[in-house]
Amino acid sequence: MNLTRIKSAHQAKNTQFIIFNSNGIIIESDNILFPVQQKEKLAKIHPFFENILDIITTETISFSCVHLKIGAISLTCDVEINLLKNNYYLLVLIDFSKHYGSFQSLAQSRNETAIKSEVLVIKNEILKEKEAFKNKFIDNFSHEIISPITSIIAFANLMKNSKLNKEQKEYLEVLTSSSLHLKSMINDVLDISKLEIGKLEIHNEQFNFSRLISQIESEYNHKCAQRQLDFNLLIDDKIPIYIESDKTKIRQLIKNLLDNALKFTTTGSISLSVKNIFTRAQRITLAFIVEDTGTGIKKEDQNKIFTRFNRLENANNIDGVGLGLSIVKEITELLGGSIKLKSEINKGSTFTINIKAKYPRTQNLVKHKNSKKLFQKNKQKYQVLIVEDNELHQLTIFKILARTNNFYLDIVSNGSEAIEAVKSISYDVILMDYKMPFLDGLETSKAIRNLSDKRKNSIPIIMATGAHVSTELLNQKGKDINEIVTKPFDEEIFINTIENCLTQ
């Protein structure tokens, strides 16, 4: 046995040797892979061999994986060109067609997978862009609608205090309730768009929970009485006065459930129970139970009611777009809670929400003052700057504040005028609109905070915004701005906020 002979016999099967001269003329070939003729020009065999004479040097040149089609023969070879003596060259072609063939399948699948995943990323980005555009559109559109509604509601409230006859009062009532209904639907759409993009965030704060429940009680006592329904509030003794959670969202959850009960109850009663389910280490699980004697929901429909834009057959004569309960479910889940429904057709429904919250050990951390009383006691007048570009909103704020007789009011309609006004007059508080052209409320506040005069750069700033408070704005609370009030203004909350800022 001769290993050298075996080796050379083995290599001989897939290797062709060709000797050619410096003119590219074939001198000799063993024709193992494909036939060539002596004195044939190498360049004629395949385009690969063209330009070869331009690149050959004294060093060996190696090409891997060269695809050659010579006549009917297709090969994938590694190619080597070596300089021999007397300007003769040796061309070595090693056929690795089988090896490269299997590599080709691997590369094919690797590249296809990579391209598919790239395309998915791109498609996802396009979808996100479209979604962002849609949400931005909804946001802007809703904001544009909210502004005039804000004015309608505010002026309707102001009108309530003027001299009206019975018929006018009735018209005003319809005007107010329709506006509030429209506003609530727009807010629902805004909530859904925010939930969709994960922008609806939880903002926990310590607040007077028992006051919130009292406010809800007073509102729904009135609403139920208007429809000749009884409203019952049952509060567990173990409920703390203060809790730490997202006040706005808890209010929204309870009100959405109560509004839903109101829609489907024509006789009987609606009750709200608040229970302490579990307390441990300053953590509390609260249950809100809303029970009605309304139309009830069929068993087969009970799963559907929490899906968006779903309106049941018996809801055809009821106002709304079918978002209320889906928002309740999603916000409950956002708060780490759960919702359950028990319902019997023609007997009524019971919705139970459990949410987790924190409660402070000391239950008197947050002081609440009755602003109206304080202002009534106090004869001092305060200098207030109103920065608002919308004339109707200017008038609304002016009317609300003028009634207390505690303020000197200056009104400007943009950020630049506000900065100039602050420079020349010593204000006690600034009421700033958030969305203004050119310099918006936050930019203007920042500019005021950057003034060198310490007294002027620390004037309390209250930011007035639409019903949905942006995260950007919330992050600035306690920094460039002191307080946030939402439009349409609740007169009492509005005055209370100003008073809080003035006494800080």
Binding site: A43, H46, P47, F48, E50, N51, D54, I55, I61, S62, F63, S64, C65, V66, H67, T76, Y100, F103, Q104, A107, Q108, N111, E112, A114, I115, E118, V119, I122
Partner: protein
């Protein structure tokens, strides 16, 4: 007189280098993607004047995002590079400038043309998403529709002969 010139197509995988060559050489197009490994070499003669023509020896290289990884022998004796990217896949052009600089440093005398392929898949070419990269690109092309394919090779043939 016919002069032989070597053209090398470079760029990421799947950008359509093979399709561009196929469209130019045989006027065929297939939307099925078949990966290229190693190198395929094709040839086409382009008349430049009444008496002169250029025989373009077109090297279709395996796609890679990093030109440093290309077998150096493949690039020897190149008269013109065509760097192709896919306008629909940003990953294929995010390092275009870097690769162009490298090529110009290593082959300062070699002609280089950049091509944004698959332009037929773009609705709005003026969209700012594409504007910046297209400003740095010599040709837009579509192997599918044939847009600019002949122009590309003709202009290279002309430039090489002059």
């Amino acid at each position: 007189m016919t002069t032989s010139k070597k053209i090398v197509l470079l760029g990421h995988f799947g950008v359509g280098k093979t399709s561009i060559i196929r469209k130019f050489v045989t006027n065929e197009f297939s939307s099925d993607y078949k990966v290229t490994i190693g190198v395929h070499i094709l040839k086409k003669e382009v008349p430049v004047t009444e008496n002169d023509s250029v025989s373009l020896i077109i090297w279709d290289l395996e796609g890679t995002e990093n030109i440093d990884l290309i077998n150096k022998a493949y690039l020897l004796g190149t008269h013109s590079f065509i760097y192709v990217y896919d306008i629909t896949r940003p990953v294929t052009f995010f390092n275009l400038e870097e690769n162009v600089i490298k090529l110009k440093e290593k082959f300062p005398k070699t002609l280089l043309k950049t091509v944004a392929n698959k332009i037929d898949l773009i609705d709005d070419i003026k969209n700012e998403k594409y504007y910046k990269i297209l400003q740095k690109t010599d040709y837009t092309s579509s192997a599918k529709t044939g847009e600019n394919i002949t122009n590309l090779f003709d202009s290279i043939a002309n430039a090489l002969l002059s």
